[in-house]
Symmetry: C2
Subunit: 497 residues, 2 copies
């Protein structure tokens, strides 16, 4: 049976994925410093085997033959995902992939060299080369998938995402935020006048912070029989669903950034741990995509862990692990003022949840114009500055380092990915609203540190659905309606208005 | 060029080895408890890919074609090792390998169940099945390699090892030890009457023991830019040469077992770290075999770390890391009396260096008779007991658990491996003697914790030789003469006589 061949292939690919995931997590956490070169060589070779095995020509025959086989409903859906993944993986000619890999590797390397000084002019030719290749790639993918070029790029990260819908939702959100950011800043200013930010009185020993993080993970539902927490320079959630490797990093002068980071990654981890076990070797059994994944982390980090209810539960936990004098005299309001501090800034990754979407929408708009050819790479600094000034009231024209040179995505040739971040934030808010309809006491449960019902709702509606539906269909099935910026707007108004 | 194809194959196999080695080490150290099933599945699949790629039929053509190519001396030697490995890997029919794998897996599992109660009768049929397969395997290997059956089994672990030589060396050693063990026990008794064993006054905190272990590793030459020390239930030295994963385990009531274990594994680690870098993807660039590997660990553990000179250096190190009161009043002699304590015992893995070879020779003799058919499995308990009584003066007839059921090797179908342990002990002694001829002050340097010249000698004569020579040739080249039990005997007389 051809489906059996796909099933067997899935097991081999899962083994290679397993190796790559654990080797990747190990590299960032436990590898000896001199082990990097051989590790990179080993991983490149394993990735090559993965590519060769997952794009073998005979797979197309198996896919066609399997369609005629008597398949169960799960197998039929699985076959669809096998095919989707195969088409996405094989729609670029090898010759093109090699050209693109070489160009983006050089460009990313150059970016790492030039970013510290923000030397845009020196970087320009490399980025022009990358964008030319991205245009070519978008067209190749568009032809293979029957999609518009930018949609074909997004299709890699969130299947079913289309600019036709996203443009409207983002326009709605942008219009709201350009007014709302100054309003939220004004509200914050008045609040802080009444109740100034309290200073943190560290040092907070790393071992105690670790215990606090573990306690928060445990409360949020992290399964320590299938995962662990380590330390790495760039925090991540990696590994495999049966052994999720989460990391954080610590500074001793404060503890909130590590704790919030741990809760964010816990959101990613819960999704992986909650995926259906039986199909872990089928594409159908894997997490849906980047936007949904980010919605799971932002659900925990933003919807839950920056709420007053969560801090009713978490403040005593801080005292338990860091000591009664860790944050003397702090009340829930003091923590919230700190973790929900709003600020206009240049850097996306440092942005709060109110201003963050404007950073993303700016990139989304520029990417579309770059891919369509409406915008040339040489025009990016002016276009970037104009939008930053319009959306956030700050200028980057003399500071490319903190402007268009701040992110690795474009130097690495990754276009169509940025929207997933804000898609995630919106889905998280929409998800919370849907969940609260089914569990009216959800906030009360969180205040007691009880995540059971909340997690069960998410398991049924999101995690166990894995890749059964496209991203828009999954949103609709889980929340009862299509993506709607209204929930995220309502969330921001409630918290910052 | 066909040699280039072998070279490229070597890189792919090295990547799979790298993954298997790191996944294996990770499993014992950092894996979440619930990750085992998927890890085993992934590793089995990767091992399957390794097997398929390393035994592909076209390799035989490459090997033949490469012989006619203009190769450098290194390439010529590399080709020889590629071929040796290929022949050893392909000399068993797939059908046989599958039968054997199934049988040994069942037998090993049964052994794990039955060993605690020592139920020999229940285990007998499974072991009979395994031994029948081992006889078949020995004959298949013998036919393919043109060797005697038991030699063909040993060939997997130490290429070039032949019973024709080992029989003589082991007979010599056995004759010596049956007299020497009682003599050493008598000497020890007198010594202890004059100077009783001092008790250890723990607890010794794990964190401090770890620092002591790291300091000892560093002094012995372990390169922490290419390796690390972690904790696991069964200590091992794994990983890859560029990232050696060593482990130990701690008990808090004493510190010497962990420290001696660390030094043993450091010996293995130095060999791996000292292998030539450029050919790490060729069989030629890998460690020679099990006997040589064990000689490198026993060199550090037995020749060096149980000597009075080492403890001149190490005793202050113990005080530095465990505190001045860790072993109050202890002198070098007190440590040596402890770490070099001789005792007749049932269990090979618990044996001291004087009695250990007798455990090995017993197994070596029984294995030869089992493979040749002179001995049947049902006769093992009597044969085992007779030899234990003769060699060590203790009976196991009523205690199969601590007799023929004590080791995993036979249940797992591993025959021809045991001799490597004692081969290693003899090579270590012979190596020290050769080294001391070139570096007359070697003991003085060890007393100062200076391993530089000693390690340089070992790097040149052993580590950088990798798999250029057969085991007997490597011994001859490194020490100037063939394997000679005299050095090990002299070592024992010096230390215990
Ligand atoms: Zn995230
Ligand atoms: Zn060893």
């Amino acid at each position: 049976m051809s489906f059996q061949k796909l099933d067997a292939l899935g097991r081999k690919l899962e083994a290679l994925e397993h190796a790559l995931a654990i080797l990747g997590a190990d590299e960032a956490t436990h590898m000896a410093v001199g082990g990097g070169e051989k590790r990179a060589e080993a991983m490149a070779n394993l990735a090559g085997m993965y590519h060769a095995q997952s794009t073998a020509p005979e797979i197309r025959d198996w896919l066609e033959a399997a369609k005629a086989e008597g398949l169960s409903e799960d197998q039929r859906l699985a076959l669809g995902e096998f095919e989707r993944v195969y088409v996405n993986a094989t729609c670029l000619p090898t010759e093109f992939v090699e050209r693109r890999t070489a160009a983006t590797m050089r460009s990313e390397q150059l970016w790492r060299e030039l970013r510290p000084t923000g030397d845009w002019d020196a970087f320009l030719p490399a980025l022009e080369g990358v964008v030319a290749l991205v245009r070519e790639e978008a067209q190749l993918r568009a032809d293979a998938l029957g999609l518009a070029p930018y949609d074909a790029l997004m299709e890699q990260y969130d299947p079913g995402n289309r600019t036709a819908e996203l443009d409207k939702v983002f326009a709605d959100l942008k219009a709201f935020l350009t007014d709302f950011v100054p309003q939220a800043l004004g509200v914050q200013e008045k609040r802080l006048a009444d109740r100034p930010l309290k200073p943190l009185t560290g040092p907070y020993p790393i071992e105690k912070q670790r215990e606090l993080g573990l306690a928060a993970m445990r409360a949020a539902g992290f399964d320590f029989t299938h995962g662990s927490l380590a330390v790495s320079h760039h925090p991540f959630c990696g590994g495999v669903p049966t052994d999720v490797r989460m990391t954080t990093r610590y500074r001793t002068d404060e503890f909130l950034s590590s704790l919030m980071g741990v809760l964010h990654e816990t959101g990613h981890a819960l999704y992986e741990q909650g995926l259906p076990k039986d199909w872990s070797h089928w594409p159908l059994g894997k997490a849906r995509g980047m936007g949904i994944h980010e919605s799971q982390s932002l659900f925990v980090e933003m919807q839950v862990a920056r709420s007053p209810e969560f801090w009713q539960f978490a403040l005593p936990l801080v005292h338990l692990h860091l000591g009664e004098d860790a944050i003397p005299g702090w009340e829930v309001e003091d923590v919230l003022a700190k973790v929900n501090f709003v600020e206009r800034g240049y850097i996306r990754v440092d942005a709060d949840e109110v201003t963050y979407p404007l950073h993303v929408i700016l990139r989304y708009e520029l990417e579309q114009d770059l891919v369509s050819g409406k915008l040339e790479v040489s025009q990016i600094p002016e276009a970037w500055d104009a939008k930053m000034t319009q959306y956030l009231g700050i200028s980057t024209i003399n500071d490319p380092k903190d402007g268009p040179m701040q992110d690795v995505h474009w130097p690495a040739g990754i276009f169509g990915y940025f929207p997933s971040y804000t898609l995630g934030a919106m889905i998280a808010a929409q998800q919370w609203a849907a969940l609260e309809k089914d569990i009216p006491d959800a906030r009360g449960q969180i205040a007691k540190g009880d995540f059971a019902a909340v997690n069960d709702w998410r398991a049924q509606n999101i995690w166990l659905q894995a890749s059964r539906w496209s991203t828009p269909d999954l949103i609709r099935r889980a929340t009862g309606e299509p993506l709607n910026a209204g929930y995220f707007k309502a969330h921001l108004k409630r918290r910052y208005g």
